[in-house]
């Protein structure tokens, strides 16, 4: 399988990465090189094989549903590019 230029633009948008028109042909070639590299996997017989969901057999650990941390709002917003009174500030989302 290979991707066309419209697909490259669509993937970039899905990935939320702005791509200049001039970069599209180059990106298309790179993505297709990787897709060509993984192409051989289509020929592997995977009939009846379970997909791996856990690297090593282990029971999912669970903890008590209780508050274990908190009251650190200052620390949480400390690295924010823009914040105001413990809120993260983003461009207006709702008109």
């Amino acid at each position: 399988m290979s991707v066309d230029q419209a697909t490259v633009r669509r993937i970039a948008h899905l990935a939320r990465i702005k791509v200049n028109e001039a970069e599209v042909p180059h990106l298309q070639a790179e993505l297709n090189a990787i897709l060509a590299f993984v192409e051989e996997l289509a020929s592997v017989d995977v009939e009846g094989v379970e997909p791996m969901t856990s690297v090593l057999p282990m029971a999912m650990k669970k903890r008590v549903d209780a508050v274990t941390d908190g009251d650190i709002a200052d620390k949480i917003v400390a690295n924010a590019p823009v914040s105001d009174d413990h809120f993260f500030v983003v461009p207006k989302v709702v008109e």
Binding site: A12, R16, L31, I34, E40, L41, M52, K61, K92
Partner: protein, 493 residues
């Protein structure tokens, strides 16, 4: 006094215990070595004041008889581990200026045991690379050079800063991380020892995530023993990482001198690839002979799905990366580029913040997870992963104790020599290491020789899940049997 940077970690530890020198003296010498080695670009930031403060605390604890197992030992920390109050970038512009308000579990374990931080080590951006050329903070230059050449050679990646710093004797050891070979490949390229432990052995909490089902922390050091000492401190159960395993951590150092007598070592025939350079083939044959001489039995084994591991990895790892890296959106931390609305702000931020290799992998990951392609690519790759793991289970089930392979398909290459046109050319570096991540197994790279051009070459040993002890024992036999590998000349100082 002899140059303290030339000691091994074990020797430095014993010297501190005997009070042959103080932690402050030891750390001062290393701070000087780090400053002299700036042409290598191994560190993104140096933390000399913090190092001296930690060393003074270590000396106080040594005086009180309260020394920890790593008391006063200066280490470098891959800039992928969050360090409280010290910038952590993962080699990316998008995280430039990020100062974590918390400490990763692995580094917290090292400080608990008395280790001292010299600074944060350079790496490929988000650990994606095999040459340390994708870092936003510039490439790391290997302390090694080819015979009679001044041309810069890569240290490997993604833990290139870790490997270069340890090889250049800037620190006794360093933390590293391995998703497809990022500890073992740079270790092999720089004549150092690197171990990727079993998935779950070390906590991933506070490590910047790349591909969560493959990422694992481990050390790079100058000897097998030193790697064992470091791994013991780094490992251990952590309730904050549900995939960290609640199992006792063995005394790895005690396993180092066990020997290989009576062990069955497997040689996978699928690793003998067409076009393998003669010096890699000879190195491997040499390793087999060393094992036999030390009393091990050699058995040819088959791992039939080996050749599918790298392509399957280039589906699974980018898929997980595209999900993990979705968090970098210009809202909570790191870079923000203004946009005309919120989506435009995300897109501008991520375009400016991610380098080319990271962008490529996020896009491939996004594609293979997108509607209509998920089953054909992602689910199929996870099924192939099951097959790869079964190959290993079968070999170990038949009584194989460890598997011996080359660590890399070649010696280190020159800066800018690979991957500029075709990204796959760079990916092929991980051909021998990536299977181990896919199966969650432990693997160690140990220096075993030198190429015709004078660059180090390494062998890899793969073990059963949670049997790192056998890897240290086998690794030690390689280390003892190999011809002496002289450390690189300090051309930078």
């Amino acid at each position: 006094m002899a140059d303290l940077t030339e000691l091994t970690l074990a020797e430095a530890r014993d010297g501190l215990k005997k009070k042959a020198f103080s932690a402050v003296e030891l750390v001062r010498e290393h701070i000087g070595a780090v400053q002299d080695a700036r042409p290598l670009n191994a560190f993104i930031i140096e933390t000399p004041e913090k190092a001296l403060a930690m060393a003074r605390d270590s000396d106080a604890r040594i005086a009180k008889g309260e020394a920890g197992p790593l008391e006063g030992i200066p280490l470098g920390i891959k800039d992928l581990y969050c360090t409280e109050g010290v910038q952590t970038t993962a080699g990316s512009h998008i995280l430039e200026g990020f100062v974590p308000p918390y400490e990763s579990t692995v580094t917290a374990n090292l400080w608990r045991d008395g280790a001292v931080m010299l600074g944060k080590l350079n790496l490929d951006e988000f650990a994606m690379g095999s040459s340390n050329e994708t870092s936003y903070f510039g490439p790391v230059i290997s302390p090694w050079r080819r015979h009679g050449s001044n041309k810069a050679v890569v240290p490997g990646g993604s833990s290139g800063g870790s490997a270069a710093a340890v090889a250049a004797r800037l620190c006794f050891g360093a933390t590293a991380s391995d998703t497809g070979g990022s500890i073992r490949q740079p270790a092999a390229f720089t004549g150092t020892v690197g171990i990727k432990p079993t998935y779950g052995r070390c906590s991933r909490w506070g490590m910047v995530a790349f591909a969560s089902s493959l990422d694992q922390a481990g050390p790079i050091a100058r000897s097998v023993r030193d790697a064992g000492i470091l791994l013991r401190s780094m490992a251990g159960h952590d309730p904050k990482d549900t995939t960290s395993v609640d199992m006792p951590v063995p005394d790895f150092e005690a396993a180092v001198e066990r020997g290989v007598s009576g062990l069955k070592i497997g040689i996978p025939r699928e690793y003998r690839r067409e076009g393998m350079p003669a010096e890699i083939e000879n190195l491997w044959a040499q390793g087999i002979a060393w094992m036999q001489a030390a009393g091990a039995t050699i058995t040819e084994i088959s791992l039939p799905h080996t050749r599918h591991a790298l392509p399957a990895y280039y589906i699974v790892a980018p898929a997980e990366a595209s999900s993990n890296l979705a968090r970098y959106d210009g809202v909570r931390y790191g870079l923000r580029v203004p946009g005309k609305d919120v989506v435009d702000m995300y897109e501008q931020t991520r375009a400016a913040g991610f380098g080319k290799e990271v962008r490529r992998r996020i896009m491939i990951g996004t594609y293979v997870l997108s509607a209509g392609y998920y089953d054909a690519y992602y689910v199929r790759a996870q099924k192939i992963r099951t097959l790869i793991k079964r190959d290993f289970e079968k070999a170990f089930g038949e009584g194989i104790d460890a598997i011996l392979t080359p660590a890399t398909p070649s010696a280190a290459f020159g800066l800018g020599e690979k991957g500029s046109g075709d990204p796959v050319e760079m990916y092929l570096n991980d051909i021998f290491t990536v299977t181990v991540n896919m199966a969650g197994l432990p693997g160690i790279a140990v220096p075993a020789g030198v190429s015709a051009e004078g660059l180090p070459l390494g062998l890899q040993v793969i073990g059963r899940a949670f049997d790192e002890e056998t890897l240290f024992a086998v690794g030690r036999v390689i280390e003892q049997s190999a011809p002496e590998i002289r450390p690189p000349e300090k051309w930078w100082a």
